[in-house]
Symmetry: C2
Subunit: 385 residues, 2 copies
Amino acid sequence: MNNFEFQNPTKIIFGKGEIAKIAHEIPSDKNVLIIYGGGSIKKNGVYDQIMAALKEHHVAEFSGIEPNPNDTTCFKAVRQIHDQDIDFLLAIGGGSVIDATKFIAAAAAAGDADPRSLLGTIEVASRALPFGVVLTLPATGSEMNPAAIITNTSTHEKTVFKSQHVFPQFSVLDPTVTFTLPPRQVANGVVDAFTHVMEQYLTYSVNHKLQERFAESILLTLVEEGPKTLANPTDYDARANMMWCCTMALNGLIRYGVPNDWATHMIGHTLTALHGLDHAQTLAIILPTIMEYKRDKKRDRILQYAERIWNITEGSQEERIDAAISKTREFFESLGVKTHLRDYDINEDDIPKLIGQLRDQNLTALGEHKDITLEDSQAILEESL
Amino acid sequence: MNNFEFQNPTKIIFGKGEIAKIAHEIPSDKNVLIIYGGGSIKKNGVYDQIMAALKEHHVAEFSGIEPNPNDTTCFKAVRQIHDQDIDFLLAIGGGSVIDATKFIAAAAAAGDADPRSLLGTIEVASRALPFGVVLTLPATGSEMNPAAIITNTSTHEKTVFKSQHVFPQFSVLDPTVTFTLPPRQVANGVVDAFTHVMEQYLTYSVNHKLQERFAESILLTLVEEGPKTLANPTDYDARANMMWCCTMALNGLIRYGVPNDWATHMIGHTLTALHGLDHAQTLAIILPTIMEYKRDKKRDRILQYAERIWNITEGSQEERIDAAISKTREFFESLGVKTHLRDYDINEDDIPKLIGQLRDQNLTALGEHKDITLEDSQAILEESL
């Protein structure tokens, strides 16, 4: 096992009816800004629950965070924070709203620094406003980690923002608020969490037995509960299990001490940036292709995955690997998430621009071995058609 | 799944050579008291590593924490803390030293309150001195939780002390410092962690799929790595996996949202208090008997445990349950931990006193259903002979 440091101070408040507890989690003297996306929280009762809980607090609002949030929207929130002396943020939404809130929290506390300079893979934020989360869309795990993806509008790049200062202080996870989500968003959440696990699991062994089994636990539960929660959106336990899987998939538990891949995410981000695909759609396209393309270097892990997740024990190694890749693709497709570029009207002519963006972002050495070059990414995209 | 709150702010620093990092974790202006047990840390190099790391700090020492630490020893440390204006504690040891340090940290900050009044199952400490941990004996999980077991010398009872204020600020887990541990302590650690998981796993289902699989992950890894690490104490990866299992077994991950048992621990504590058995020895005796005694109410869980941990899929339900109990007992015995009271020279005549102590502590309704009465505990002890 590799050496590692692990710390995750976020308080999780999990279960039906728990949103009311935010009243006690946010100090009563705070000037609160609630941050959300479109109007869905006004239709599903979440907005009303929050306003009832915060009736003793001073509350302002900022809405209009878009999917794959961009920095200019965040800067508008920062101006409102400064204008209104806001000192606590509450994100209400899924990964996009939480990610935006993290960046807003750091940018608002950055003083005279150019907030756009905070975007990048290196820890640069030295402080942030405190914030909490009410999660409405289980998927990204952002509710219990210190990372965000923000689109830099000056370069059109999806950029990582990370800081130890942007762990949510608390996150409320009430599975009942997800009952009214559109099936597409639920399916995307399952694919997103599944792929988060795979990026930390399907690499190579450093004798990290426990992290491997934790990863397999999440995959098995997603395979079991994902279809159930789509078939019956108000099955509380199925949705609770799925929600907890999404959080655990990206809160550090299975990440530390082990090799990490993330090539699927990096190539996938370009598909969202240039073609507007849902994040999970990009993962469903690229992950099976990378499994195929890297079948030799990932051989041992794919064979273990085949056996432990899909119970594939018969046949030659090549046959078992083929079967595991097919099972993965079929799982995504069974949820209604298509797994080929052509399903989204992206064809061979679009690949040069996608490669150009990877080049512009210096994403020229991807994967757990840093051996996926631009040529490899091009081949992966071609094989994803 | 039941509603729950989960928060664990302890920073884990894991891996070989990491003890030196304590220099940066403890502010340089702190007046540090290092707390340890006997002299083993002076023989295995840990003491020297710590003193080298803290050469710029002001450091005092308190040694002599006994196994199953008692409150009067802790009160001596509290006096030293007050006399020497100590404001940071560093526990160096296993569960006993860490547990003692937690109680010391709270008692030293308790002001005029009678520190013995802090002992009890209810959160009463309102503050505590900050402290860190250098773990030398993987077993209890105390390095990443806010609980301690302290013997109240006025009543001879092992008493739970819990407070959100006594999470360690950091815990250093360097598997290499465990290479020189006596085999008995390592075996005890495996049994202790295994039983911690079983107390949170072998209850009844509330559709907590992920927590179940996480629990099974720890059990499987202990079954796989436990014998390995005893056979070859310097196998770094085996010991690293075992160490991480012990921490994860009792840090909240598999506890929240699920029913908890803890009857084995409660009955076991009396065996330690009155007969001086190692904590893990008491668990190895009582757990298999409770599985047998509660085979009906725990039926579904034992059958799942039989299949997922021991691959027992053949035979009637009763046969599979019998086989699972046998496998559990054999596993403990294979590690060198005996599983019957007679192995420790405890016989039928000793049982009334043990029951008397359970009565004195009001431990008259144990287990996940609170249905293990004193009569049941007596039967369990008789069946453990």
